[in-house]
């Protein structure tokens, strides 16, 4: 299995496409971050804004957004592509078991994804150097990015196992990404139409509707990022985290009154920190990934019982 992983990686590294993609990836991210920094510095010349915090949060969100584009492109044809080239059946005829083939392809793709993430580390270090972001927070965010990418990857690989034609499996892989990112948002919006609002000031009961939003990769990312104690208002990640946790537990953010002098909200009692959402989100995502893995393994099982019409083993 190790040999197959190494060979997958070796082939990827030798292809020009891979390096071009990596170059574009880095250039686009760097360009965007430079622009964002310019915007931040020029709008707040006296530096009351935590430039580093915003830069880092923007980077994390942009990396995830681009990963949503790149990851399916790297993996959506990994299995049916081999079938097309007539190399898959030969793999199936070796002593490797079906799950080992799937796992090898998955791990190779995961390493590739890690390389893409690693390429952004210099930009992250720049943001950290601007201040406001601890190394621990940065590490946690990268870990989350990696985990979420792994889920997207597994989905794309499942698509490449189910669908015979590479073009269609790419569509399916992007469909999965679309479902997680925008689909959950739409679904959440729909469920929100059924909320009953009382006008006596008590917070509405959203029930478990937050679970619909939980597997959204951006929600997971923002929610899993550790809060920096100072200046949360500027951090886009903190803003998202606040929203999702409020959706889960409106009570905990219930403001009783405002201080007449400062305008600051006064909580009747110090609010309990609301429980995090990301473990649920990640668990749901892991469920999708496990399902994709299972399906892919089933599809590679030999001897094949039934073949879809018009399909050949070799």
């Amino acid at each position: 299995m190790t040999a197959l992983i190494m060979s997958e990686l070796r082939q990827r590294m030798r292809g020009k496409r891979w390096w071009i993609l990596l170059g574009i990836w880095f250039a686009v991210l760097l360009g965007l971050i430079v622009l964002i920094r310019q915007a931040l510095v020029s709008t707040s010349p006296d530096h009351d804004l935590e430039v580093g915090v915003v830069m880092f949060a923007s980077l994390a969100l942009l990396v995830l957004a681009l990963a949503c584009l790149v990851v399916p492109a790297l993996t959506a044809t990994s299995i049916n592509g081999e079938r097309d080239r007539g190399t898959l059946a030969i793999l199936q005829a070796t002593a490797l078991r079906p799950w080992e083939i799937v796992a090898a392809k998955f791990i190779a793709a995961l390493v590739t994804t890690a390389a893409f993430l690693a390429a952004t580390i210099p930009i992250a270090l720049w943001a950290i150097a601007e201040g406001g972001v601890s190394l621990g927070k940065a590490a946690a965010v990268y870990l989350t990015l990696f985990g979420v990418s792994a889920v997207l990857l597994a989905g794309a690989m499942g698509a490449s196992a189910i669908v015979r034609r590479p073009a269609l499996s790419a569509v399916l892989a992007y469909g999965f990404v679309f479902f997680l990112t925008i689909g959950t948002l739409i679904l959440y919006g729909i469920t929100m139409t059924t909320v009953d609002y009382d006008f006596d000031g008590s917070p509405p009961d959203y029930g478990v509707r937050w679970l619909v939003l939980a597997p959204n990769p951006f929600v997971v990312l923002a929610d899993a990022a550790p809060a920096s104690p100072d200046d949360q208002d500027d951090d886009p990640l903190a803003g998202m985290r606040y929203s999702i946790r409020q959706a889960r537990d409106p009570q905990s953010y219930q403001i009783q009154s405002f201080d007449p002098q400062t305008g600051e909200p006064i909580f009747e009692e110090e609010p309990e920190p609301p429980p995090p959402v990301w473990p649920y989100g990640l668990a749901i995502e892991a469920g999708f990934a496990a399902f994709a893995f299972y399906v892919a393994t089933q599809r590679l099982g030999v001897p094949a019982k039934k073949l879809p019409r018009g399909e050949r083993i070799a």
Partner: protein, 274 residues
């Protein structure tokens, strides 16, 4: 063992079942004492399978390619290395060991695929149309390679629709048609098609050959290139004809049966099916 049949007869399907890649709709199979249905992994270890159409990993070198498959059959690293060198030598690609696979010609890729099928020293070799697309020279090389494997004790099953090729390679010929076995013959016992066979004769002076044939009183056909074709019942009749032609002063330079024995048998079987 040679597997003969027209396109779509089920040769590839049979080989896929034996290679433990496809489950039959009905019935079972046994390969080297293992059941491909219930013990596919064991069967994979016993069987070296070379499909009729296969791809290679273009970006790997020949050596890397073979070593990859050695590792996937769980050979030890040093074992893989020596086996790879051995196989590259065997199929005559040793000089290209460190070139990328995509630089190979079709015939060379075919030989690499053959080496790949041998990497784990299989006891059973399943070769699906191994000679398709090869030039005559490469075909002869392949035939020798296959025979050598058989001599070393491997059970070899070759499918082809090129009949002469199998006649030269196989000890037993199995005819397949429309998913069914229509005949199993030892190579020497192939039906010849009811006795009479056509023989083509050539001589230095084709005109003189035609005259001599006329003189000895056989019925013959003159082909477009001037050679003649005679219908004869057995080899005794051939020897007889040659003696009489020589007596007429014409020495035949070539006496070739038209359509090898297998082809005759094959065509006959096909006709019976229809």
């Amino acid at each position: 063992m040679g597997l003969v049949g027209p396109n779509g007869a089920g040769k590839t399907t049979l080989l896929l079942v034996l290679a433990g890649l496809l489950a039959p709709d009905r019935g079972g199979a046994a390969v080297g004492g293992c059941d491909p249905l219930t013990q596919p992994q064991e069967v994979h270890r016993i069987v070296g399978w070379m499909p009729d159409f296969f791809g290679v990993y273009d970006d790997l070198t020949l050596r890397e390619y073979l070593e990859l498959f050695g590792a996937m059959f769980h050979l030890r690293r040093d074992e893989t290395k020596t086996r790879t060198a051995e196989l590259l030598e065997l199929v005559g690609l040793a000089r290209k060991a460190d070139l990328k696979v995509h630089t190979l010609s079709r015939g060379q890729k075919q030989r690499l695929g053959f080496a790949r099928a041998l990497v784990h020293r299989p006891k059973v070799l399943l070769l699906d149309e191994p000679a398709s697309g090869l030039d005559p020279r490469a075909r002869i090389d392949l035939r020798d390679l296959v025979r050598r494997q058989a001599d070393e004790g491997a059970c070899v099953m070759v499918s082809s629709h090129i009949l002469q090729e199998l006649e030269e390679m196989a000890d037993v010929i199995v005819f397949v048609e429309a998913g069914r076995c229509t005949g199993i013959y030892q190579i020497g016992e192939l039906p010849t098609g009811g006795g009479a066979r056509r023989w083509r004769l050539r001589a230095l002076d084709l005109g003189a050959l035609q005259q001599a044939a006329y003189a000895v009183g056989t019925t013959f056909e003159v082909m477009s290139d001037g050679s003649i074709v005679v219908e004869l019942n057995d080899e005794r009749a051939v020897a007889d004809l040659v003696t009489r032609l020589v007596a007429e002063g014409v020495a035949p330079t070539a006496i070739v049966p038209e359509g090898a024995g297998l082809e005759g048998a094959f065509l006959q079987l096909g006709a019976a099916e229809r």
